[in-house]
């Protein structure tokens, strides 16, 4: 029976929907299906097919990383950040976790008719601060305005280029049994913050988004520890999604120790009230690192010494079997599978 299910799981997914649903943008199974069914068959090439956070390119003998990301967060302003610093940090982090030093960004704005200039100024000022903090420059841009109702205030797309750190080759596919899995800080804070900032849930918690550039931390880690095999920033779909991507890319299993995963009490409390699992909630300034056994302790020390990494932790390890799956050893002493979600984690009553 298991073999039958695994065969189906590994088969190329078919896109059944005739129209796009919200789940297609959630970063889980539905998003993967969309990519596999619509984008890769038509646009695929050896670089894109690797499906890493950023593409690695060689131009004039230099190894470059190139990536893009779009930001449609609602509300635009939330505790700890706004769409502006998110748009900078998101692209900076996609470059950083690829092993690159982020350098130049583009910024494209889609604005809704009627959007307050004052708000736009706030967003752009926040972008400027985030860019300065990450040591990158916005070097090209674009602005479009759509009719009222055609967008929700302000959407931002950023793309970024960085140079690969010499000698570094990171890939999810290179995870090997015996490696340790680390996370750089408490998880789920961005996702919970934004969910609460929408105000629909009427929940009052002292949480702030974790949005932050990871480039400094990554650079410190890669220079100090040679045994880092893969890095991923845990955005949409949270840590659980990233771990599943690693398990599949490397055809290994990832075994997580539930008790070791850092989660703040407020995130845990909100997640409990809503019946969702913090492992699936987005972060915007946290990364997952896969590190060779020898590098684990040094890596943990480097992460913890870096601002924002104080609560870094070893959350699990890579094993050989069952390949392609993430297992969780529960606090209670049981074991269960942590699969990809179909769409966003939904609040539930039952």
């Amino acid at each position: 029976m298991i073999e039958r299910i695994e065969r189906v799981r590994r088969a190329r997914p078919r896109l059944r929907e005739e129209r796009i649903t919200m789940a297609h943008g959630a970063g889980g199974k539905a998003t993967q299906t969309l990519i596999d069914a619509v984008f890769l068959p038509r646009l695929g090439n050896p670089v894109l097919d690797r499906m890493e956070d950023a593409a690695e390119l060689v131009a004039g003998g230099t190894r470059l990383a190139f990536t893009t990301d779009s930001f449609v967060v609602s509300p635009l302003f939330f505790p700890g950040g706004d769409i502006g610093d998110l748009a900078i940090n998101g692209t900076v982090n996609d470059l950083a976790v690829r092993g690159a030093t982020p350098m130049f960004l583009s910024a494209g704005f889609i604005l809704e008719e009627g959007f307050a200039v004052e708000d736009l100024e706030r967003v752009v000022a926040s972008m400027a601060r985030a860019a300065a903090a990450a040591g990158v420059q916005v070097v090209t841009g674009d602005t479009k305005v759509v009719q009222r109702g055609g967008a929700d205030g302000c959407y931002i797309n950023t793309a970024g280029i960085g140079t690969m750190i010499p000698g570094v080759r990171l890939a999810a596919a290179s995870a090997r049994p015996g490696d340790a899995v680390l996370v750089s800080g408490p998880i789920g804070e961005h996702g919970i913050t934004v969910m609460l900032a929408r105000g629909e849930l009427d929940i009052d918690a002292d949480v702030t988004s974790d949005t932050a550039p990871l480039s400094g931390m990554v650079s410190a880690l890669l220079h100090a520890v040679p045994g880092v095999r893969a890095l991923r920033d845990a955005t949409r779909g949270g840590v659980a999604t990233v771990l599943n991507e690693i398990a599949r890319a490397a055809d290994v299993s990832v075994v997580v120790d539930e008790a070791a995963v850092p989660v703040s009490p407020q995130v845990r409390g909100t997640a409990e009230l809503l019946g969702i699992d913090p492992l699936y909630v987005a972060c915007e300034g946290r990364m997952v690192a896969v590190v060779e056994p020898d590098g684990v302790q040094p890596a943990l020390e480097v992460l913890r010494a870096h601002p924002g990494g104080e609560q870094a932790a070893i959350i699990g390890r890579v094993a050989a079997d069952p390949p392609g799956l993430v297992l969780l050893n529960t606090v209670f002493g049981g074991t269960r599978i942590v699969d990809l979600l179909v769409g966003d984690p939904l609040p539930r009553i039952c």
């Binding site: 039958r4 049994p177 079997d321 209670f332 049981g334 699969d339 939904l346 609040p347 039952c350």
Partner: protein, 375 residues
């Protein structure tokens, strides 16, 4: 005390497991049904079956309010949502449940605006803010959830709101348990009673199970130790030759339930003569609708509701799974045609549906997972 972590202690679980094992008569097979999907979720989420001896089987019951909603009701809800000026609301649980022509998410991708709310009171708040719109709340759930709908209706009437409506799909647990007890193809040794339903209805309604059917019932809490202790209490009753209703979840469940909640339900709703349960078919007196006094709030009367009956997909064996006759993986389409991405039956949609719980958390054999997690 937080009433959560204290009941998740692995050391105590091992002690209970040892006691449960001691109570097993050699060669005897034990089958207990956990009526409630919340229990199913806990069992898989925490890997509880790892603690039980092989000759104790937990059978997953029909207590998942999303799983038992027939496809036709989903289609009816979407039909209501399409009518002019309507904003449909429901719990997050409903959003992915497939109707005859897709789920709420699929409907939203076409032409509806169906929104998630955390509480029916949130739907009422939307109605207050948007007097120009008609806000319909699709109410689902057992007796646990019905009081919240009832209180919201009373509130709406007290405030004189005229743009708030309820599409009632509340079901009642006792007739479903009775249907299972009367089903000829199932032999059970006892029941884990639904803890949160019992906060409302109390423990007395289960007495007929012990008295007329000779099966022990233990009303159980939702933390892992609650469930293990309840299994232990069932085993102890069997070992001592007793048969009674016991309340393991006394910290939350009063023996007589919540009289105010029962009164609120009674004031706003009445039993339907019969209601279709997905997979189980029509069950008499097993669901609630609004009383005549609340007709102006009743979406079934105010809106055009086609009420079309849609047969369950042939391949789907949710009914057998809901009755506990089949284990999820014994269904013909489990994990192949029917997966959480493309659910055919509702048991695969809700995270507390037996199939989804099994698929997501426990589809590997205990032995294999145990070995893998120890590498």
């Amino acid at each position: 005390m937080r009433y959560v972590d204290e009941f998740r202690d692995a050391e105590k679980a091992r002690a209970l497991a040892a006691r449960i094992a001691q109570l097993c008569e050699p060669g005897r097979e034990y089958k207990f049904m956990e009526v409630c999907g919340g229990h199913t979720h806990t069992i898989y989420k925490h890997g509880l079956e790892d603690y039980l001896p092989e000759n104790i089987t937990l059978v997953h019951g029909p207590g998942c309010p999303v799983c038992v909603i027939p496809m036709g009701r989903v289609d009816d809800a979407i039909h209501i949502a399409r009518q002019p000026g309507v904003l449909m609301t429901s719990f997050g649980d409903m959003m992915r449940v497939p109707g005859g022509n897709g789920s709420f998410f699929d409907a939203n991708a076409r032409d509806t605006n169906i929104r998630m709310v955390y509480s029916p009171l949130d739907a009422l708040a939307i109605a207050r803010q948007r007097p120009e719109q008609r806000i319909v709340f699709m109410a689902i759930g057992f007796e646990t959830t019905a009081p919240s709908t009832a209180m919201t209706l009373l509130r709406a009437r007290a405030e004189g709101l005229r743009n708030f409506f309820v599409f009632a799909n509340h079901v009642t647990i006792i007739p479903a348990i009775k249907a299972i007890l009367d089903s000829p193809d199932l032999r059970l040794d006892g029941f884990l009673g639904p803890g949160h339903v019992s906060t409302v209805i109390g423990c007395r309604p289960y007495e007929f199970i012990a008295r007329d059917y000779g099966k022990p019932v233990v009303v159980a809490g939702f933390e892992p130790l609650d469930i293990l202790q309840s299994v232990y209490l069932l085993m102890r009753q069997l070992a001592e030759g007793r048969c009674a209703v016991e309340n393991q979840y006394g910290r939350v469940v009063p023996w007589d339930g919540n009289p105010i909640a029962l009164q609120a339900i009674n004031q706003t709703m009445r039993l339907r003569p019969f209601f279709e349960w997905r997979g189980l078919g029509f069950i008499n007196h097993s669901a609630l609708r609004l009383r005549e006094e609340f007709a102006e709030y009743d979406a079934e009367l105010v809106f055009d509701v086609p009420g079309v009956r849609i047969a369950d997909p042939k391949a789907c064996q949710c009914g057998e799974v809901l009755k506990g006759v089949l284990k999820p993986w014994e269904c013909k389409v489990f994990g192949t045609a029917c997966t959480p991405e493309t659910p055919i039956g509702t048991c695969m949609v809700s995270p507390e549906g037996a199939c989804a719980a099994y698929y997501n958390f426990g589809r590997f054999s205990r032995q294999r997972v145990r070995e893998a997690s120890r590498v």
